[in-house]
Symmetry: C2
Amino acid sequence: MEKKKNDDGKWRVLSSEYLFREPWFTVRHESVELPTGSRIPDYYVLEYPEWVCVLAVTTDRRFVFVRQYRHGSGHTSYELCAGVCEPEDGTPLVSARRELLEETGFGGGDWSEYMVLSANPGTHSNMTHCFLAIGVEPVSDRHLDVTEDLSVHLLSLDEVRDLLKSGAIEQALHAAPLWRYMAENKLM
Amino acid sequence: MEKKKNDDGKWRVLSSEYLFREPWFTVRHESVELPTGSRIPDYYVLEYPEWVCVLAVTTDRRFVFVRQYRHGSGHTSYELCAGVCEPEDGTPLVSARRELLEETGFGGGDWSEYMVLSANPGTHSNMTHCFLAIGVEPVSDRHLDVTEDLSVHLLSLDEVRDLLKSGAIEQALHAAPLWRYMAENKLM
């Protein structure tokens, strides 16, 4: 397989303007030209800060999940703990540790960046940093934002396997690290 | 693990209006109320048609990938063949077979729906139907849209493993079915 740079085929931006610059909704409208000479007059890029999620396993081998309603899909489901990198966090690791602590009260353990994924690289400017946190423990109370309404669930390996096989993990950004964990640890 | 309905915690929509209804960009602005009584005055839902992707394996055990530039992330990378369900397709399976044929010229084989995922259920109204197509063969020329600029790559299992391990598969909607395939077939 030929080694390539990671921006071959890059498009040329002919014009660019912001349609929205709200805290949770920043959209750029661009007119672009492909290397083939084709033009796309109306292309929309969604700008977000970097995101994080955490595949956290407790000292007694439970997997830390949250359950919450998601208004885009209209579905409520089990997910990994996840959130947004705040400017004051400095690094995605700090953001991920903060989110796990705030949403679930768990901390400690050995942390490593496991995967860097995009929700959709066609439209999203940002990446999601997925961390693996092994050996976490309950260390504090939860501190939810007023607009967060979620419950914490400590699931066994069998329960996580059942969720994955039944298709209950719909969020692709969370399904990917969970299936990777199953593949690399030969757990399926 | 307690069995639950899949919409517990659903939000109440207080007002809803379309900000955009363009072919590739349809956005709803809503004001919502959570079961806790908290309100979110500005929530944005991105409406898209259903999407498809295909994990296709040829009769001689090569994996069918495409390589293309993605303007949201600014990265060019290997991806599964993917696309949008057109109304005339009727079912996601028809859309997925059409996309594989148009983008790569491959067809035939045994098809099954492998996963149904969301790029981000917080914001996206649609789901992505990931198909597994085993035993595909070259059956026709490619027919790309004028705005499509992608190359086809038939990769060995070792090459796919290397892409996955090195983090080169950034698209979460494609990383999830690929890691699932590795997990269930014990290939890592």
